[in-house]
Every structure is written in C-alpha cells, then in structure tokens.
C-alpha cells in the first residue's frame, strides 16, 4: 500500500503545493503544512473509498488540514501576503504585467479568511460549484453567494492596490 500511496501522491502533489501556496507565505510554514497534509493523507488513505474522485478526496483532506492547522505565535502570517523570497523570484521570472498581477493576487488572497481561500482556490482551479460544494461541505447555493462576495472583496482589494 505504501508504494501505491507514494506513486499516487507523487503524481498528484500539485494539489498539495497549490493548497500550501494559497495558505502560507513563509517557506517554513509551507514545509510544515506540506508535511502535515502528507501525513493526514497517509493516515486517511486506508479509508478512502472510490465513491468520490481521488482529487476531490485529496483536496478535501488538504484543505481541511490547512484550515484547521495550528500555527505557533512566533510565526504569524504576514499580511502583505507574499514572502520576500517569492517576491524576488517573481521579479526574476516574469514580465512586469504578470509580476504585478501575481503580487496583487497574493496580497488580495492574504486578506481572505480560511474558508474564502479554499473557495477561491477551487474556483481558480476551474472546479464547478457542485465539486466545490462536495469538497468544502458547503451547499452549492452558498458557494455561489460566497463566490460573489469573494469576487467583490478581491476586486475592492485589488483596486486599492492599483
């Protein structure tokens, strides 16, 4: 089972990285969260039944772990939303427009609550409302309501930054 698990996680690790990207802005936090998600996936793997898609199950475990993770006081999230390391990397790699967009996206996302982050992540990943509802355990109607609010909130935050 361990080999099978390692294989499937190696192939789908992108999901964990995406969750870590949206919830952590410090490298140390990111590493801790990645490991915690991995451990929770390993613990839950024996009880995974193929009733839902593997990616749906993986998103649920990863997001649940991220939302309920316990951060020590000394590592409070930085409200600017993007780490210095990432900022430097972004500047090196992209053209000015993309770089500006990424910076703005990070800054705006950092202002969202845990649940809002999970919804926007799934939305950005092109998930349908039905699947977002299945992953987060929120009803489809409320996902719609929440998504509209998040869009407005992000627009406002990004306009302020511009």
């Amino acid at each position: 089972m361990e080999k099978e698990f390692l294989q499937i996680i190696t192939e789908n690790q992108g999901i964990i990285h995406k969750v870590c990207s949206i919830y952590c802005d410090l490298e140390e936090d990111r590493r801790d969260l990645f490991q915690e998600i991995l451990v929770q996936l390993w613990k839950s793997y024996p009880s995974f039944r193929s009733e839902s898609k593997f990616s749906t199950w993986m998103y649920r475990v990863a997001l649940n772990t991220a939302i309920t993770s316990f951060k020590k006081d000394k590592r409070q999230p930085d409200k600017t939303g993007i780490s210095y390391e990432n900022l430097q990397l972004v500047e090196e790699m992209y053209d000015t427009r993309t770089e500006e967009q990424i910076k703005m996206l990070n800054m705006a996302v950092a202002q969202l609550t845990g649940i809002e982050k999970s919804i926007i992540l799934l939305f950005l990943e092109d998930k349908k409302y039905e699947e977002i509802a299945e992953i987060t355990g929120i009803t489809q109607n409320y996902v719609r309501v929440k998504m509209n609010r998040i869009k407005k909130k992000l627009k406002l935050l990004m306009t302020k930054e511009e």
């Binding site: 995406k18 991995l38 993309t98 990424i102 950005l124 355990g137 992000l154």
Partner: protein, 224 residues
C-alpha cells in the same frame, strides 16, 4: 484586473511554485518517515497520559479509603467509630471521582471514534473544538478530584483529631481549621487560575480562530 486575469495569474504562479517545490518519491517518503505530530495528535497523547495519571490517583484513593483508613487506629491503639455522615462523605467522594472519570473517558473515546480529517469541515472543526474542550476539562477534573480529596481527608482528620487528642480546646480547633483553609483556598485558586492562563496562552488564539470559522460556516446555513 478582472477574473480572467486572476485565473491566468494564478495559473502562472501555481505552476512556477510547483516547479520550484516538486518532490521525488524518496523525498516524500522521507517526509512521511520523519513525520511530526499534529495538534490533535499531541493533545490526544497528552489526554492519554493524563488519563493514566488520573487512574493511578483513583487507585490510590480507593486503596487509601479501604486499607489506609485503618492506620490511625493502629497508631493510636484506639478504636475510632466513624459517624455515618463521615463514612457517607468518604463513599460519596470516591464514587463521584470514579463516575466523573468514567464519564470523561467514555465521552473522549466517543469523540475520538468519530474524528477523522476526511469529515465535512464543520464536523471536523466541532470535533477539534470538542477535543480541546475535553483537554481543558481534564485539567479541571484533576483539580476537582484534588479538592474533593483534600476536603474529605481534611474533614476526617479534624474528626480524628477531636477524638484522639485530649485537652483540645475550641480555640485550637478553630485556629487549626482557619490555618488549613488559609493554605487550601489560595492553593486551589492559584492552581485554577494557572491552569486557565496556561491553557489560554497555548490554545486561546487557536480557539478564537476556530470559533470565527465556525461562525462563518453557520452564516452559510442562515443564508439558505
């Protein structure tokens, strides 16, 4: 920036992050091997240790009331007839301690059995909240058991003193009780406030965060 730009910015950013942090099978295996305990795992371990210590204490209380209660008679070479109310206090306090402990253990096992990270978020958060509350209750349980035990022993001690010591004046009894209370009350109050402060210091901020998220989820139900 509109939603379309937002999506393309995210796509670029997340793929870059993925390339930067991608791990091989061996590295993932290494992370799994060196796994650290999560908050719930740590609390679970602490509660189990606490349960073990409490069980030992309860065994001691039972041994004390069954066997060691004969000790004063042997020391004083006098048979002490305990009044019914004192026997009642002893039996009642021991029963209360055992019942509370069993109630605590059953309740915790029930929470543990239904707890899994795969739950729906709201149930998961309620589970974590309940685990933390149980952890706090365990500290209070220790304190309550200690208080009950101190009060029962204190009452029995005063009663034995009255019976065994000759020339015991009312003034001496009152001052003995007064001094004992002066020691017990601040000790209990201090322990209570220290426990509360320590718990809030460790998990206060986390509990607030949990409550806020639960409130946000509750809003979703009201919005329906």
């Amino acid at each position: 920036m509109d939603i379309k730009d937002l999506k393309s910015a995210w796509e670029t950013y997340s793929s870059q992050e993925m390339d930067k942090h991608r791990l091989g099978k061996e590295s993932i295996n290494e992370l799994l091997k060196n796994r650290t305990q999560s908050l719930v795992d740590r609390i679970d371990r602490n509660i189990r240790i606490g349960m073990g210590v409490l069980l030992l204490f309860i065994v001691y209380v039972i041994i004390d009331s069954v066997f060691l209660s004969e000790l004063p008679k042997t020391i004083a070479h006098k048979a002490i007839e305990y009044p019914k109310w004192l026997v009642f206090i002893d039996v009642f306090s021991t029963t209360l301690i055992i019942t509370t402990y069993l109630f605590f253990v059953i309740r915790y096992l029930k929470i543990k059995r239904s707890f899994t990270i795969q739950l729906q978020l709201k149930d998961l958060m309620l589970g974590i909240q309940e685990t933390l509350k149980t952890y706090r209750r365990m500290f209070y349980l220790v304190l309550i058991i200690l208080i009950i035990n101190i009060i029962a022993s204190f009452t029995a001690g005063v009663y034995q003193g009255l019976r065994l010591i000759e020339n015991l004046t009312t003034a001496k009894i009152i001052s003995a009780i007064g001094i004992s209370l002066l020691i017990i009350i601040p000790m209990v109050a201090l322990s209570f406030f220290l426990l509360r402060w320590g718990f809030n210091k460790l998990y206060g901020r986390y509990l607030i965060k949990l409550n806020e998220t639960l409130q946000e989820l509750d809003e979703s139900e009201h919005a329906e």
